[in-house]
């Protein structure tokens, strides 16, 4: 699949979702796995757009890539916002507390990291690079 370069605003979420679902289809992922992958990417990209760009008055692009090999599909998201490693956010506490007591920060990152088989982050050459790996079902 071609890479997708898209301006970092919330309108990007739909084309990015379609991009990930298309990659998942090409990889032969099962429906649930495709859903979790799409959700994971959505959550991280939403944070990038909102916290990395919009809230700090930055503009820029998000670049999506899909890497398919025999064993796995990897979605790579690159952006030029401030360095931010999603893994340093602690899991949201109080998962079993009533709604009014919930601490809702970190929910998106929690869903993202829990939903994929492997998640990786690095910052290099001025880019944040988030990678999402889903193992492919055994080919028949």
């Amino acid at each position: 699949m071609q890479a997708l370069t898209i301006p970092a605003n919330l309108d990007a979420l739909e084309p990015i979702g379609q991009y990930v679902l298309e990659a998942a289809t090409q990889a032969g992922l099962e429906r649930k796995a495709a859903y979790r992958l799409r959700l994971a990417v959505d959550e991280i990209v939403t944070n990038i757009i909102v916290h990395g760009y919009n809230e700090v008055g930055l503009e820029g692009d998000v670049v999506m890539r899909a890497d398919l090999n025999a064993d796995a599909l990897t979605i790579i998201v690159e952006d030029t916002a401030q360095p931010f490693d999603p893994r340093v956010r602690p899991d949201p506490a109080n998962l079993d507390r009533p709604l009014e007591e919930r601490d809702i920060g970190g929910l998106g990152v929690f869903l993202a990291i829990k939903g994929v088989d492997e998640f990786d982050y690095e910052y290099a050459n001025g880019y944040n690079r988030n990678s999402f790996v889903m193992h492919r079902p055994a080919q028949g």
Partner: protein, 112 residues
């Protein structure tokens, strides 16, 4: 995102039907309906979700918003939640705060 949120209030119960895909870009539309329901001082919020195929954490945040706007005494029912959406709700523990039911008969409503 193809998303709709529509509100009907009957007998102090707010019925909000949400369809399509709920993410951060469209969550404000959902919150608008919640605010409209809260302004009518409803006693219960019923979310009809049989045509909602996708929900990101923005949807969960909207539930917290609903409780804040409507008061913690207002029960939130979620009707006919699709499986992947239900999985997200359970994974994040939000099933402790809402009542998920397969159907909602207005003539014979479930108790909280």
């Amino acid at each position: 995102m193809a998303f709709t949120a529509t509100l009907e209030v009957k007998n102090e119960v707010a019925f909000v039907t949400i369809t399509g895909e709920l993410d951060a870009s469209v969550a404000p539309q959902f919150r608008t309906q919640i605010e409209a329901a809260a302004a009518q001082h409803v006693k219960r919020l019923v979310l009809r979700m049989d045509d909602l195929s996708y929900m990101a954490s923005a949807g969960l945040r909207s539930l917290v918003f609903a409780k804040q706007k409507m008061g913690s005494g207002v029960d939130i029912f979620m009707v006919a939640v699709q499986e992947p959406v239900a999985e997200t709700i359970k994974m994040t523990g939000f099933d402790n705060s809402v009542i998920m039911v397969p159907s909602y008969d207005e003539a014979n409503p479930p108790s909280a």
